[in-house]
Symmetry: C2
Subunit: 202 residues, 2 copies
Amino acid sequence: MSETNDRPYHHGDLRRALIDTALAMLAANQNWAFTLREVARRTGVSHAAPYKHFRDREMLLRELASIGFVRLGETMTEAMSPARPSTRAQFVAAAQACIAFACQNPGLYRLMFSSDADKTIDPQLHATAMSTFGILVGLLERGQCDGSFRPVAVNALAAASWAQVHGLAMLAISHQLLEEKVGPAPVPAALDVLLDGMCCPD
Amino acid sequence: MSETNDRPYHHGDLRRALIDTALAMLAANQNWAFTLREVARRTGVSHAAPYKHFRDREMLLRELASIGFVRLGETMTEAMSPARPSTRAQFVAAAQACIAFACQNPGLYRLMFSSDADKTIDPQLHATAMSTFGILVGLLERGQCDGSFRPVAVNALAAASWAQVHGLAMLAISHQLLEEKVGPAPVPAALDVLLDGMCCPD
DNA sequence: CACACAAGTTTCTCCTGTAAACATGGAGGA
DNA sequence: TCCTCCATGTTTACAGGAGAAACTTGTGTG
């Protein structure tokens, strides 16, 4: 009972393992209806073990959401980093990266913006989300400096474009951007409409 | 035990009463974490009674979402109906009505677009949601006919504006449109940006 | 080398969703 | 009038889940 049992009493990094299991289940089912006990079971520990690392089920969900924001931020930063011909092109790339992220991780993306990952009760999560939002603001500020975007309050631009991108992502996840309903390339089309309003007339 | 008991064995319209209770709890807590048993309890019936009217808990949630779409549609239609100076003004009114609805019913609005009200498994709900979406499409079509909006695929316009309005609503609900961050009137500002891209240059 | 503490496990209670069997009372036919 | 059916209630039962409490195990540190 104690010899070749390859599961030592102490797991080593159970916290990470639980998060990985939960992320896998989130990706597999595209929802977070899983129970904490199921996560524990699949991770191979007792059902009470998770409580040593997460106060309750919701805290685990907020942790997942936080990871989602970090990954989304990385994705967007990466999409913007290659030398693009213009700030506008950088914006389009970042927006498309965000929407692609949502399509590839629909469960996680939904969780990030759901009330089950309540940002008002978790300063840490709120800060992480704001940091991701800041990537967009930074891009818009640079665009204003180089004359690409209109010199209105940057946060108004940020609200408008964040709303647009997030709205498109949600529509895409909900399969409401079907080609026969909305044309062959709705995302670039919608972004163009927005950018026509955001960019300086030239 | 049977005299002044003002609760007859048969409720009369338990289905409606359960829905009303659930809507009230949704509004009170701004989430749908309530249990079916709690709904039954507050409605004053046994915990199994709801199953005579809803196959399971999710079916009740979808019913609530459906009611939400109907109400949203009414609100938007109403906002558009008074004689407005222009189609553009009608659009702004409808969009603001939608966002106001979301702010006044954040729980319900979230539920309507959550995966717990899965539209892919409920044709009735899907149809109701599409009908509400159709109000927007109708307005855009009229605007194209009278030359207000650019003559591109109407569904592309619909996707762009729906994304924008829905995105703004979600941001507003999440209290991310604070004045100090985003200016005094972010919604009209964002809608203007969008409309500048949607309307015919003139 | 002892031992305190972090990280597991077991056990327990209360609650939920949902199924099944039973009860009730109003509506429609004999 | 009365009987019987059925929709709509209730009671009872059960499988699980959340989370608390008490117990166990090993490991790092004096």
